[in-house]
Structure formats: C-alpha cells, structure tokens
Symmetry: C2
Subunit: 317 residues, 2 copies
C-alpha cells in the first residue's frame, strides 16, 4: 500500500514510544509505555500491545520500524544494549514481524533519529550529513549517499567513542578520555562544578545554594540564559570541545552538513554560536573546500519515531 | 577495450611514479620522475611525457588514473596539496584527459592506495575495510560497500586529523594533539628520543653515539629488530596509541578489516603484535560483535599506482 502510514518505535532505557507516521513524516497517533525490564520477549509483547491499540484507529499501517538504544546487526538483532536489561543477542526484528504479521525493521536509535532528520527534518535533501546527539551520552548517525551508513555489521556511527583527551574523564563505556566524556550533557555539568569549585562562577554557585558539587548541566543552562557571564564561559569551553571533535569527524567523514540534536540543543544559539565559532578553521584545508554548516535538529524527541517509521516505509516501498 | 591495461600515477611531494597495470593488478611497465615544482601545468606535462614513453610498448592503455597527495574534489580537481608547490585549485583530471586523449580520473593518493589493496591486495573481496597508512603522516582510505568512501566533496578519510591528545604534540597540519602526531613515523622517533633523554633506553642511545636528539624512527626499528627491550617498549607505547586510535575509527566506521600500510608496517609483528594486543577490548561492545582483524598491506609502495590504475579501469568499464 504505497502511501499507507507506518509505525515507528523509539525504544530507550526508560521509555517505549510508538507512533503512526504518514509519508510526509507527520505523527498521526502515538502511544507510550515504560520500557519493560523483563528481557526482550517482554519488550516484544509490550510493543505488540501498543501496536494493537494503534491499529484500532489506523488499521492500514504497512510496516513497523524500531530504533533501539543498542548495537543492532544487519539482521535486526539487538546484540548489546548497556542500558536495557536483557536485550542481548535479541532477535527483535524476527520476533516483531512474527508477533505482528507486519514487515519489520530494527536499527540503532541514533541511526533512526538521523534518518528522521534526513527524511523530514534538518537534513532533508542532503546526501551527506552527520547527525550528532548531545545528551546523556553522545550518539549519532551518518547519512552517506542519501542512506544511513551502517558499516560492515550495522554498528557504525558510535561517534562518541574515540580517544579525545588521552588522560581525560572516564567515558560511560569505561574508556578514559572518549569524546563523549567531554561533549555530553554531564560533561557540561562537570565543567560547571569545576568552575564553581575553582571560584570562577560565583553567581552559578549562588544559584545552587553554595554547593558546587550540586551543579548540573541544566543549572549551567539556566544561568547562561539569565546572562551569567561565568556560565556562558563554561558553555564556551564545552562548545570548544564539541567543535574540535566535530571538526575531526568532518575530516573523517566529509559531510556537507552537521545537525546537532539532543537535550543540549535546547540551548540554541547560546551553544551553537560558540560552537560554530570554535569549529571554523579546524577542518583540514578549510580555505579550499565548501564550509560545513552546523544546524540544530528540528524534530526534537520525535526524531526517533519518525525516523523508525521512515525506515519501515523504505523497507516496504 | 575490456581487459586492456590502464595507467596508474602516484603523485607525491617528491616523486612522480607511473605504471601500466593489467586487470589482475600486475605492473607491466613503469616510469618515474621527480615531481615537478613548476605548478600543475608542469605536472601535467611531466605525466604526459611519461605516458608517451610507456605508450610505445603499451599502445592499448585504456585510461589513466592518478592518486595525488591532495584534497581532490569529485570533479578531479586538486584543491589543496600542502606538500606539492602550485597544486592549488588545479583542474588535473580535465587537463590530463585533454593532453592524453584518454579517459582520466584523479583521486586522493591514500584513496587510490586503499583501492589498490581492496582490488588486488590485503582487502580483496572485503566490502568494508579501513586502510591506514602509517608513514611520515597518517593517511587512509575507507572502503564502504565495496567502493571508496569519498564523502560529500571527495575529502573524506583524513583519518589522521582529529584530536587524540588534548595538549599533545602539534600535528603537521598545525593543530595540537591530532592522532597523526601520535601515530606517525616521526612520533615513533620522538618517543625514542624521549625515552633516551629520560635514561630509559641506554642501548638505543649508544647506537646513535650518545645524542638522544638524533634518534629517528628507523633507529628505534633497528634496535628493536636487534632485540633491544627498551626499543621494543618504545614501539609498544607507540602501538598503544595507534591501537586506541584505530579502535575509535572502528567505532565510527565499523569496518570488518583494518589494513595497515606505510613505512611503519615494515616492522612486521614487532608492531602488529603489540598493536593487536592493545586494540582488543577497546571497540564498543567488543564481546558482542565479530572481531576486527588487523593485517598488513601487501602491495607495498606499489599500492598507489595499482589502485590508481584500478580506479581508471572502473571508470571505463
């Protein structure tokens, strides 16, 4: 059924979200539930239950796409998901297709979100784009030649996990000095705590009642929005690390566009301004190539379900 | 003429090398000259002169491919070549096709060498491979889906140029702490000098007549081959930095195979042994994915001409 809507699932460590999405990327209906902690069979059952609910109003959905916070292989098996209990070597694609009687695709959640921005968002019509998600961690998706770049096994685009600062802060994955440990939301909070503890952010310290150790990324953001120069300086230092990492990724991948998504992008130009400024000139041969624009994502936290639904649509058309 | 040989050019800062290569990757004839320092027209003339010489014995060559140490755009223009005087915004492809009356393609030299290894060398038959050249600098080529990954503008795979050590040694490109500055041949020499100056490599110091500042990468290699434990430790520390960087690139690109080429690979298992050992476990979710093999290149310094000739063959078949 060309033109029929498809289902998109965004499956993270905490929440399970599912939407009916039309060919123009519009969300027609949506259901949510907590992510079951009972292993992959419980997850399949939970998705199936939400699909049956949505099928009452949308009986013509043509396929199901899932974006999941996991390493997903080319067969749609979730091989490893550090934040979802029991999701190891889980045959999600096959089990969902069986349970629902629908064509199903399963991909990494960041790939799905990137594909959402590529099909219906900030990277629409762009053949080569890098989508970088700055949030609790740093994730991303690579669009190359108008498709999701998945690598040999489907595990590509783990773009937060490479050594950025040899003896830097430990990454959530356990490795020291990964870019994620400098470019994630928690890294912004850490910078705020360090600045306050060093006496370099008195207004920020005052805002949290004098306990430097209590400062979080949202505290830094709130202070920056209120015009606190110290908080702005903290964001500037953070933006420099993000920019240097982005320049490195641009040297490796040569996208024409970088899309920044995730919680940090809510800072808007408070982040994107210093980020763009710090980025310029760090790309190889910058004077001899077209500039790479850095733009904010536009789909917000709907990117995952919209992209997963688009992947499902691709699979049946 | 399917089956006709093609011409492959390897154009670096010092040497111009050109070979007639058959469909099986065998070099049938070869010419060399110094790389002219008279700008791109001089380079085109020099290539044309060598081609005319080779055409006497091989009149049926079907096309010409060039790999050049430059940022090369999708139209075969060399946009920027820091080590080749006058090679800025040079329309090499069009000028060579005009001068020779042959179909011509121009690509980055590391891309060409990677394509050589993919077509006729260590990555033959591999759909997704990363070819890393450890030499004066660190270069590379990305094979993705059985093709050279070029990115949006042809500038991809500048894989030496990303921040690896925040306040590390300055890269040849001017940026501080790029991986190239830790993983190149000169970085191995620098480690040897540092070890000798710190009194940690007395035998290495003796070999160079007591002048720690005179130690080069080949000195470290010679001492290691002779069994000097201190030199082996220097190589081990160097290999760890190479391995951590490779693991990061594998997290981003997800190849099934890493091919190591360049002058450093002549160290053989003295390098590859500690490199493989340091690499294991630093890839995300390593326990849940197929291991990535690290193998030496097999075409040596012929990879460039063989790969350039293969690119030319692809263009006419």
């Amino acid at each position: 059924m060309p033109g029929a809507p498809t289902l998109g699932v965004d499956l993270g460590g905490t929440n399970l979200r599912i939407a009916v999405v039309d060919v123009d990327g519009r969300v027609l209906g949506e259901e949510r539930a907590p992510c079951p902690a009972t292993g992959w069979r419980g997850i399949v059952d939970a998705i199936a239950a939400l699909v049956e609910t949505l099928r009452v109003a949308f009986p013509d959905v043509a396929a199901l796409g899932v974006g999941v916070a996991a390493l997903v292989d080319q067969g749609g098996n979730a091989r490893y998901a550090p934040n979802i209990p029991g999701l190891i070597d889980a045959p999600l694609r096959a089990a969902l297709a069986d349970a629902l009687g629908l064509p199903a695709v399963v991909d990494n959640d960041a790939n799905a979100a990137a594909w959402g921005e590529a099909c219906h968002g900030a990277a629409r019509g762009v053949e080569h784009a890098l989508v970088v998600t700055l949030g609790t961690g740093v994730g991303g998706g690579i669009i190359a030649g108008g498709r999701v770049y998945r690598g040999a096994h489907g595990f590509a685009a783990e773009i937060g996990h490479w050594p950025f600062e040899r003896d830097g802060a430990r990454c959530a994955c356990g490795e020291p000095g990964h870019w994620e440990a400098s470019a994630s939301g928690p890294a912004l909070g850490r910078r705020g705590r360090e600045a306050a503890a060093a006496g370099a952010a008195p207004e920020l310290l005052r805002r949290v009642g004098g306990d430097a150790g209590a400062i979080t990324a949202p505290d830094v953001a709130t202070a920056a929005r209120a015009g606190d120069d110290d908080a702005l300086a903290v964001i500037g230092a953070y933006a420099t690390d993000v920019a240097l990492g982005l320049a490195g990724l641009v040297n490796i991948l040569d996208p024409e566009l970088v899309v920044v998504s995730g919680g940090l992008v809510e800072l808007g130009d408070l982040l994107l301004g210093p980020l763009r400024q710090a980025f310029v000139g760090h790309v190889e041969g910058a004077a001899y190539r077209p500039p790479v624009a850095i733009v904010p994502a536009v789909l917000g936290d709907l990117a995952g379900v919209i992209g997963a639904a688009a992947l499902a649509r691709d699979a049946v058309t």
